[in-house]
């Protein structure tokens, strides 16, 4: 759940694909000579500098795009201001509250929480790692109760994304013996 613009990602992949398609078509045409296209001539010094600068600009753009992926994280979950001042609660606190509530559910191995900003709203993402054979209904309902008590603590309702995941740790944890 990051802010990465997915459509632009796909457009970039399509552009890279089309670029390679053009190269493939070009050199295939040189090989089989179906269409008459102009030949590439050995470039003059001026064009060499232009080519080098274009490469540099494209590299800088690519590095900028790569470096800006994965944004949208937020530290603060809720901020409230009243007569007595200004208070805020971090996502970590919410994670601890939820994890405390879920400690006694045997199917749950691990709980982590992250806050994300999605179209202007803070969304709390809870990743709950379960044992291999978990009672999913029980897990979802337990997290639902924990979130309800979080609502009470925060005195407001924030959007929550629950992701029930099977992690590496879940596979290593011993399965419950069922008779």
């Amino acid at each position: 759940m990051t802010r990465s613009n997915r459509i632009v990602n796909r457009v970039l992949l399509a552009l890279v694909g089309l670029a390679f398609l053009t190269v493939a078509a070009w050199i295939a045409n040189r090989y089989f000579a179906a269409v008459d296209v102009w030949a590439i001539t050995v470039p003059e010094t001026q064009w060499l500098w232009i080519a080098a600068s274009t490469c540099l600009v494209l590299i800088v753009l690519a590095v900028v795009w790569i470096a800006t992926r994965g944004g949208g994280r937020a530290r603060t979950l809720v901020t409230a201001t009243d007569d007595e001042g200004h208070g805020s609660i971090e996502a970590r606190v919410a994670a601890d509250l939820i994890a405390d509530d879920l400690e006694r559910i045997p199917d749950i191995v691990d709980v982590t929480a992250r806050a994300f900003r999605v179209s202007g709203r803070i969304v709390l993402e809870l990743v709950v790692t379960t044992r291999r054979a978990a009672d999913v209904r029980l897990v979802v309902d337990s997290v639902g109760r924990a979130v309800a008590s979080l609502d009470d603590v925060l005195a407001t309702r924030i959007p929550v994304l629950l992701h029930v995941a099977s992690g590496v740790r879940a596979n290593l944890a011993h399965g419950q013996r069922v008779r």
Binding site: M1, T2, N9, V11, I40, I66, R69, V118, A165
Partner: protein
């Protein structure tokens, strides 16, 4: 899904599909390396220094007299890029309707839940039940103990009950298969 937060539709859609960021990063890193090499050769040729690998003249010559390998490589890379751009990129996850939260469950976890129901009902050891969950179907395979009968309809009811209680989206159709050959032992 009915819920108090309209944002959930967006959140769930983003969780069920890949962002393609990893693919874009790999593509851009490779493209940057290629561009860096071409740029360096261009500068070296412009200042009349010795080339790293090939001079621009040799690059042009290679492009003008290509081999089948070059064509095939470019075509394969083009297909990979276009497929990654167009394919839906679904993750192996299902959405579970909930009044308060947006809930996403990995297919592996769903498979575990179905296996658990089958194990409970059949009283077989966990190792005898395996489940595969794909986008629209769940297949539970049960290996019975030799010489005993399994109540397949009861297991099917138990597994279907779990699916109905979860109501995953896209909907799952489950099938329970009892293996023809049993195994000896508990």
């Amino acid at each position: 899904m009915t819920s108090e937060f309209p944002i959930y539709r967006r959140v769930v859609r983003r969780s069920l599909h890949r962002s393609r960021s990893a693919a874009v990063i790999v593509a851009l890193v490779l493209a940057s390396l290629g561009l860096a090499w071409i740029g360096t050769e261009a500068v070296l040729a412009a200042i009349s220094a010795a080339p790293l690998l090939l001079t621009p003249e040799q690059i042009v010559e290679a492009l003008e007299k290509p081999g089948v390998i070059a064509i095939a490589t470019a075509a394969v890379l083009a297909v990979i890029g276009l497929v990654l751009a167009i394919a839906p990129g679904r993750r192996a996850r299902h959405e579970i309707p909930d009044a308060r939260m947006a809930v996403i469950v990995d297919d592996g976890v769903l498979a575990g839940a179905l296996s658990k129901a089958a194990v409970r009902d059949s009283r077989l050891p966990e190792s005898r039940v395996s489940t595969v969950v794909s986008r629209r179907s769940g297949a539970v395979t049960v290996v019975p103990t030799s010489g005993t009968l399994l109540n397949a309809p009861a297991i099917t009811r138990a597994v279907t009950g779990v699916v109905e209680s979860l109501d995953p989206r896209p909907q799952l159709r489950v099938a329970v298969a009892v293996s023809e050959r049993g195994v000896v032992g508990s």
